[in-house]
Symmetry: none
DNA sequence: TGATAACCGAGACGGTACGTCCCGTCTTGGG
DNA sequence: CCCAAGACGGGACGTACCGTCTCGGTTATCA
């Protein structure tokens, strides 16, 4: 979010950033999220909970969405291994089941909230893209391309669309909330997208 | 003061609701949405724009999300005909293309915003479900069931999941916003879900 | 307050005023006053408590101060006998003690509130004068004039000022509230005003 | 975040109160009072007139009565010299004439309004007592006690009641408003209370 | 014996002010 | 240059009453 702040200023003048304060803020954010949900995490509550001044918050983050995103990403699994056992269908199923499980937990509520915020705040949208979606899509994309090169899926199809066909239904259920996100649902989606609805 | 009350439990007590004010509010909501987006539609701005008192707003709507949802649904096509020409694939394609086109317009921005609000406001979530998603899903579900009974899609599959497999990717692109919602994308999704990715 | 309403209109047309509603309002006013004090008696609360519509309230009274004044005067002793036993000092003492006792009760709180309202509302001020103060002052004034004609108090002094010298301290204590209103205090005032502070 | 806190329990934490804003509010209060009277001084008007946010008003004052009281007391003569020329009657007359004159001006309208507010708001009542009445009564009380010790007024009488006998009539005329507050009236009261009504 | 006119309840209406909350910025003193 | 504390202007929130206004329905009196 701000990791390039000191890299430009050569001399490294003045007091360095308090890592204590940084961690206190992220911890406070997670605590407040658990207590009262996204709406409960105001900048004032964050400052009070973390024992940090509001000025410090605004020095390092542009708004509450940024803080929450940071807190979430610090918690979330940093690497997203898309395993490659050779069995493409099994790999995909494993991946989708894992995502469904993750999204049905409290992490799901969080990205739902951040996605919601991103609808009205371009900065959040940008950050969510680059720091959450892009790396995960890239990993999945590689796996699909590998499968394609091995003839396990048709060549010539639009991988970007295929990714949305897989992930989209999960995130849609997360956000629309009409039905719970189960592993069975994940399996269904994998089945549909790999084999199609039409009878063979 | 009850001794002279008429027993006819009449429902039309008191001054009736002003339909003028009602329409003025919905119109003001749409006008403000076009001007400055969702965040610009505050209850105060609505009252001012519609020439209506805040008390009147809160008398009929619990919050701004409800007003905007009402304004949107009054604008949106009330009936959602899922045509049945006999050619299931063509019908589905037509339906999905229409949705993609609608969501890529300003109506898309609106439901995105309302969906966002619904993440933190259960009442909005409830209203969005019952008044937007449910009727549309029901129509599409009927068409799928018809296709199923005619053997055009496999019997025994979960229609609810199939609906999400079709709609989910469109709404996901709307919300995640990484790529524009084109008719080509709609076609791709129809292709994936009907035929599958795997080579025949 | 409005007793001349029908006298002008010659024909006495239409439905007559509901005496039931009138009494219900006055009763509701007293009830609300006891419950939550003057500030608690709003026109809306009055209407609700009396089972009367707001329109009816505003048809007969110009505002809440008028209602409360009416309610108070309907309760308060209608006639104010300033007795004349021949012993002027005793009569005065009796009168002042009675007033002190009345003002220290809940009636005192009421006129304090009405006097307060009268500071900002000329209509209340006018009504309070003509319907409360004027008749009471007139009675006391007569007694003083009788005493003067009998040589019990000095001739040539300003009776209006003398009335204020007697009543003023009581109402001042009522309003300023620094010390309780006791009969001893009433006696003191009578003593001061009749005999003076200076040693004989 | 507490490990590096300084132990010096300093009172000057945080940004200090803006004296500019403070004065602007008091000034705005006086200006609004002159324009439209007590009822015209709303917290919103105050904020607008002073160029101050409502939050700042509520940070320092509990309500409009407190603001107006502050504005009044800042304007009113801070010290209340009860002079002692040796001639007790002359001193008293001077004092009472001064008060009558003050109360008949715009300051009178103000305390009338504040006294009115104090009837329904205990905090205002408390503040009015401690900051207005108490110091003024104390000064007058001293003068009376001096006169008593010099034998100019009878020993053994209740000075508190005597103060009310003097001040009460003036404040009563101010509030009841039946007759103007003149210096002649002040003289009359002094005469009554010092010499009594009964002929010598 | 209607007709008429003023009454009644219920309650929605445009307003105004309330007091609270949070925003993002600023101004202190101290590390 | 960082930090905490916290005051500042701004602005929206949701509530409470104000006094006015439609409604449908209810009495009395007069024609």
């Amino acid at each position: 979010m701000n990791e390039e702040r000191h890299e430009v200023c050569c001399k490294n003048l003045g007091r360095p950033r308090s890592e204590t304060a940084h961690q206190a803020v992220l911890g406070a954010a997670m605590r407040l999220l658990e207590q009262g949900g996204y709406a409960h995490v105001t900048m004032e509550a964050l400052a009070a909970e973390a024992g940090v001044s509001k000025a410090t918050l605004y020095r390092w983050w542009p708004g509450r969405a940024a803080v929450i995103l940071d807190a979430f990403l610090a918690t979330a699994s940093p690497c997203v291994p898309t395993l490659d056992t050779g069995d493409f269908r099994a790999d995909l199923q494993c991946q989708m089941r894992g995502l469904a499980q993750a999204l049905s937990g409290c992490a799901g509520a969080l990205i739902a909230a951040i996605l919601a915020e991103a609808q009205s705040d371009p900065e959040t949208a940008e950050a969510l893209q680059t720091r959450y979606f892009v790396p995960r899509r890239a990993a999945a994309q590689q796996r699909l391309e590998r499968a394609q090169s091995q003839g396990q899926i048709a060549s010539g199809l639009d991988i970007d669309s295929a990714l949305d066909a897989l992930y989209g239904p999960l995130y849609f259920r997360l956000l629309a909330g009409h039905t719970p996100l189960t592993t069975e649902f994940a399996d269904s989606i994998v089945g549909f997208v790999l084999d199609g609805l039409t009878p063979k």
